[in-house]
Subunit: 677 residues, 3 copies
């Protein structure tokens, strides 16, 4: 974040919606905030109906008062524009403002984000309200950040969107001829002879190219709303940074790389699964940090359970704290929650909060919140600390759509494929950046590209150059199938860089659930990893690969491609390119990746750390922070002698630490030491 | 039933639709009715198109003739208004009469109940046809009962309904301010500033408060149709009782407590599952009887299989008879079937009947029907017999919606929770009334309130008073979360009567399927129940409870709330309140409930009866009837010495019974003895 | 095929769509065709937008050129009318041309078959384009066949269809009175008093009679389009045969017996499952051959995987060849593929082809294609060879809808029931015709009628006459329930021919998944089959049957119908009728059917052939061809002494064969010998 506001302390707090409560509650709430160590609240996220109760009526009295009281208590404000939830009068003014869903049905106004993002009335009103807010609050001393909209994903298929989609396509493709060609519309006589023939893909995916571009268009449509609001704000309040909080990757809609440059700071909302939460949360921290290769804000998380998953267990004692430190360890500058006071009605009333319906602050969760608040006060030194990773995992979230639409096996899943390759690095505490395939890769020694189904324009060149200059690239099956329009290029899979891998992929075989194969290291391959079993199961997918210069370091052992390469390695330029033509069990992937890392001189942050202990580092100009996080439900002993040499201090307690220390279940230790410049 | 018509004999018969058959079939059918012991038929349920073939054309000739023939044979008539299925000409006159489904699609007219219940044309025509029927048949000597509409559940989301919904809300809430507040519409800026902004919740549940009220509104909309018809009928035919047949609870739509006062007698349609049919049928008999605390009519059941469940086995020999006696034992005054003659076309043609497609009366089912008819002729004495229960189970069927919408675990299910607490009482033959939480509880010694998620206005006061005056109350988890608008009150769960329980619920924990806990009685607790295992598994849900005056009689043994209370007991006033913070296995619930009953002096009808033998009693002014029903697929011996003393007679055979008797698989014994006044 | 064109060589090739590729690719493709042995391609299947780019603009230059080049190389052309995919300008001209789906939603134009088949604009334009094509290409020397539309199934529910449906019904039923009666519309007051009251059954099945007729109407609507095109073609090009390629039975829509008479030759597209592909492909070959009791064309199959099944494994080496020979063995005159060159975009880009994206012809699949091409060149002698079957399996594909709609058990499935009775005949290599129940049965000794749920008008008489004249008929449960309108006739199941079976079906019992029964042969029954186990499991369904002249040859052994007949046999006239009242395990059905065949003197083509070896025969005027196909994944030895006597030659290699020969995994041997006339 280049702009000045956020600094000095880890932001700690929550969304706060006093407009949903009697006026007198604010003072009590501020007392509770102080008790919990809250130094930041996000206001006005859904307050549009309160501050603009009718088209030409504004009422800022409540917001003014809250601002004043917070300022008095030195609590910072993240000020949201309330544009995720237009008020009822606006829908009443023009019923076409209600969005039309994928099945062509106009929604009723009983929820947030019921609007069409391309509607002219919406675009006009969001500018107006953003401007009003900027004028009124843009100079407040405790204003830390602008927060535009909220989890800004709206899918709409109305006539306004249809028209905007056509304009978007004109800008993207220029001519209909080019569009017809890029999308291969001669198939099935879909060739368009007039732009007006193009309609949104109502009724679900029926043609992958149009569906893909419609998703890009929708993301851009939402982004245009963001930019419109930002323009109004920056005009008046240029010194305050601007963000919008991204939803977690579980919810598709925003294509973050198209947004990132327009945000002063990335912020996102983390709602990991209960089981196995560590790896998926870590992945997303590494991803959202990777968007700008910079620290980010954790804008929302839950103090305990959420209410919208199939099952919603309470976070066990210590888990919320563990997850908070995990965020901090991986680049967060804030630990913020949804929400301060639990709502009483609607569909979110059983989502946990800082202050609960029942016992308010007299409960375990609030006590853990307060304890964490006190700890974070000691950790301001971590801020602006960078993560230094020599390994990157490539991730293109549009593949969450595309692989699903194109999968020739129900069991092929992009998220699972990426996680399978991210997990061994995470578990071994190898620092990783998760980055887009078009990002600059020159700083990495190892790049892992699991199931890079789509080679968007520029990607093959970038990968080729990366290997040529000495990088190690590991790519897995179902990669390089299609170009950026989801069309296969002449020459087929991997072709633009098949020579980098030194192979030809001849066939792809999508296995039925009761089919499988076995893979085995060839003699001498992956030798660094000790005793080997006689093979590893692999399922779901296999490819028949022909060597054209590469060597096989593992082979299939069964079925008609027994003996053919399962993993290949090819020297290219100064680097090496690996290809994994199978979906093997975790142990195999772990051995492969750790071997590749080792050969590149890339190792774990702390060698031989106990299993289940996550370790991450942040480095400021003069200090190194090391986070040791025990994900086990039992205690574990760690020998600090494993750490790099230096005078390690417990960053929270301020005391020197040496020797062996025990970490309780879910406990965390933050260490720091000075760095010699 | 206060009105005079139904008396003297158990009504036995079926829906009869001669308008679907050639005229000459009626005489043959009446011969078969006599053979089967049928004394009652329900006419005209779907006959609108026959008696009013065009807007201004009536033709009652067929119905007249059927009435005459039945009268001659002393067969009573339940006369239905045919308003569940308006004829095609009416939909042709105004296509907006076709209802609009939850997804906004106007249905095609290929099924019954295709109409909008709020449509002015419908309202006008149902009054007209009801009046015509009352004029023509209201004085017939064999007219026993009016039967308005049929399973009167129609869900519609059209513009007429939208307008009627707004009027309904105005009547309910008075002002928009109050509505906004009650529904907490400030969240997400949903605040309505004009009534016209309110639309039906198309597209499924998106806001629980509006969806809940929409269901209440729909139930009332259907009820208004019923009342309109009733008004026309009572004006002309005031001495004949009026009912409408409720669907089983498996189908949501009618909120029975809002209807019950308007029916002269409750009637319902019982289609229990094949497996485990006893408990769910018994529950519903106890529920429908509980609506007026009076005997009821079994208006429909199947002679053998139905056709619309996922699997539809034939009722095994004896099962239909067993289920019929079960109804009688629990308060029925009639055993009626859908339908007399099996239909030839459409979607109900494979639903069983009295007279089948194929072998007509020459088959097992008809023989069982005839046998039962002869037995029931002996049981007129049972009529008006009351059920005397000192135990009540509270049941609010709106929770079948609400708990589903709000569940934070896919496995939390209101019906299952209620059944779990009803079952041990059923299996132990403890007489139970199933009543609404707002009913008068003063007559009960034990009240069980499983998962009473919603505390509607008045409920907490009623429960408090009940315990205060000496009652024993057992409530289970996920109770008292929300008020009658599904909004959490300040203070949270159980709060208005948390002091009655002497506890605070601090957290609710919705477990994933592979998570569980263990509960254990504390020393000395539940001592009356003999040897205890070391604990009982519990899953799905657990609550962290803090004692504030209560004692823990069972505790959790695992996870982070090990040691905290799983079941609490609190003395309050002259009574006791129990709270069950877990979902334990059946044995645990059984031990708890039987212990509570015992401590209240409430016991089974017959102690130590063999497992699988259901026992129920009905008491008239001078006689006690006891029904012994063997649900096992093998025979069982019962020692009549276990019964209360007295001169027991076999009520069907009229012979005295003593000693040990054997009951065959699925067999039933009805005993009676005189009561000394 | 009576018309002259197709003869002399097995047609070998694929759909070919050069309009999707740069012009210069055609010459390279023709080179590859020659390499692969391709002698036939299907052109123009989706080329409408190319040859008629605007309403009044035609451009045949590309198609002319392709035709010329193919002619020069002696490659025949199957010329398609492109009417499965109207071009965009046509939808732009009239948006009501877009079809309306079952839920009432008008589709967007992003896929093929987006049109309404009853739309006047469509009907006009298909005549125009068909005429143009006939004029231009009808006299080309290498034109082999006209191919109208493609997998011609379009389901539409628009207003044009509604009006056409009413006209169709008028033609079918004459009067509304008759319609009301046939559909039993008095139920639920559905009686129609004006044709205008009839609308398509939007929203899924709600009344079986209307839904069934709507499917017949849709099939006829598509057929009318076919006939309109055919009329234009035949007028100009009378000597070239005409077909349309039927989809496999997995996709419902076309009711083939209503189409067959209008096709000069049957053609169909075979996409069998990966597992157990043999039996389902064989069944369909026998079915499509049975439509005209004549050889047919295999118009499409995949060279390896498809892309649209839940899982899409590659065809293992040899499998494509095996499946091709299976088609030939069972009556095919062609082996054609979809498609020649793999498409680059859209939803079919990962469907296999002859020439692949990646390695073009340098891969296993192309090598297998080429090998097969060379073999087929030797097999021209097979053409016009007939299949001689003395056994028929009755199959009415409308039951795939009807049984589904009416099933009283989720597990009752028509396709599974039919396969269960077809499989033992297939596995024993007994030649079978699969025919419609209204077909001429006089040539068969054994007729098997699995689950013949519907007795359309004429079927009972035909079956009665068949048995009377000496045939053996085996019918299984859930048969004869309804007439051709899905209405039960007075008298019920089987009744019109219950006397032929000598039984009465008293009850049908649809079992839950954990219920089952046991069946056992009665003493002496099925004696020819050696040692018997003590019984066979049976599930899903059981019927309680009463003998009225028949004898029980197997009985149920459990539950309340223990001892009652499970299989009955009745002599009637000169024949015998068997009824199977259960769904027993495969071994039982096999024993039954082989016993019945044996008693009729019907045996396998080759007795005692090894399990897993499929054997089929084709007979021309002077030669007998025998196909031995090893479906096992390991090799098998076959003793040619088992074959009928004669001088057998390997039809591909032209060498005599005797003694024992080994067939490799998936390998095929084609033998021939002369027949003495």
């Amino acid at each position: 974040m280049e702009k000045k506001r956020i600094s000095g302390r880890v932001l700690y707090g929550a969304d706060y919606n006093p407009e949903q409560w009697p006026e007198e509650i604010v003072e009590e709430d501020i007392r509770l905030m102080k008790e919990a160590g809250v130094n930041t609240v996000t206001l006005n996220v859904f307050g549009w109906g309160t501050i603009q109760p009718a088209e030409d009526v504004y009422d800022f009295s409540g917001l003014d008062r809250t601002f004043d009281l917070l300022e008095r208590e030195d609590i910072g404000v993240v000020l949201a524009t309330p544009t995720a939830a237009p008020p009822s009068w606006m829908f009443a003014k023009d019923a076409t403002l209600l969005r039309v869903d994928e099945n062509g049905r106009r929604v009723a106004h009983w929820s947030r984000q019921a609007y069409c993002p391309n509607h002219p009335l919406y675009r006009k009103e969001i500018r107006r309200i953003a401007g009003k807010l900027a004028e009124r609050y843009g100079k407040r001393s405790n204003l830390l950040l602008w927060h535009i909209n909220n989890e800004c994903i709206v899918h709409c298929y109305c006539d306004y969107c249809a028209e905007a989609f056509r304009e978007w396509l004109k800008a993207e493709y220029g001519t209909l001829e080019r569009l017809n060609d890029c999308w291969q519309l001669r198939q099935w006589s879909l060739t368009k002879t007039d732009w007006a023939q193009i309609a949104p893909p109502l009724g679900g995916m029926s043609h992958t190219s149009v569906s893909l571009d419609y998703q890009r268009f929708l993301s851009d449509s939402n982004l245009e709303g963001f930019l419109a609001e930002k323009e109004e704000i920056v005009r008046i309040s240029p010194d305050v940074p601007v963000t919008t909080n991204f939803y977690s990757i579980d919810f598709l809609g925003q294509i973050h790389p198209r947004w990132a440059q327009h945000l002063d700071v990335i912020s996102w909302d983390s709602y990991p699964p209960h089981k196995d939460h560590g790896v998926w949360a870590a992945f997303q921290h590494d991803y959202f940090r990777g968007l700008k290769k910079a620290p980010f804000l954790l804008m929302e998380q839950a103090s305990s359970n959420v209410n919208w998953k199939p099952y919603n267990p309470a976070k066990r004692p210590g888990m919320m704290r563990l997850q908070s430190f995990q965020a901090l360890a991986r680049g967060a500058e804030s630990i913020l929650f949804f929400q301060f006071r639990q709502s009483r009605g609607g569909v979110e009333k059983y989502h946990s909060s800082l202050v609960s319906h029942g016992t308010e602050s007299d409960n375990r969760v609030f006590r853990e919140i307060s304890g964490l608040g006190r700890e974070l006060e000691k950790l301001g030194g971590v801020l602006r600390g960078q993560t230094r990773a020599r390994t990157a995992v490539l991730f293109d979230l549009t593949l969450l759509w595309l692989v699903g639409w194109n999968r020739t096996s129900r069991d092929v899943d992009y998220r699972e494929a990426v996680t399978a390759f991210y997990r061994p690095l995470y578990e071994a505490n190898v620092p990783v950046d998760v980055v887009h395939p078009l990002d600059d890769l020159s700083g990495y020694d190892v790049v892992v590209a699991p199931m890079l189904y789509m080679f968007e324009e520029g990607v093959p060149d970038r990968l080729r150059a990366y290997v040529e200059r000495g990088g190690k690239l590991v790519m897995s099956y179902n990669s390089g199938m299609a170009n950026g329009c989801d069309v296969v290029e002449h020459g087929g899979f991997l072709r633009p860089i098949a020579d980098v891998f030194g192979i030809v992929v001849e066939e792809a075989d999508a296995l039925e659930p009761d089919m499988s194969n076995r893979v085995k290291w060839t003699d001498g391959a992956c030798a660094g990893s000790g005793d080997r079993p006689d093979g590893y199961r692999t399922g779901k997918w296999g490819e028949v690969v022909r060597l054209e210069g590469a060597e096989a370091i593992a082979t299939f052992e069964e079925d008609y491609y027994a003996g053919s390469p399962a993993v290949t390695r090819n020297r290219y330029g100064k680097g090496e390119a690996y290809y994994v033509a199978a979906h093997p069990e975790p142990a195999f992937i772990r051995e492969l990746l750790l071997e590749v890392c080792q050969s590149a001189g890339v190792g774990p942050l702390v060698p031989n750390a106990p299993h289940g202990v996550e370790i991450a580092a942040r480095e400021t100009d003069d200090r190194l922070f090391l986070f040791l996080m025990n994900h086990r439900s039992s205690s574990v002993e760690i020998d600090l002698a494993l750490l790099s040499a230096g005078a390690w201090t417990d960053a929270i307690r301020g005391t020197p630490v040496t020797g062996k220390i025990a970490l309780d279940a879910y406990d965390v230790l933050v260490l720091e030491k000075p760095i010699r410049e």
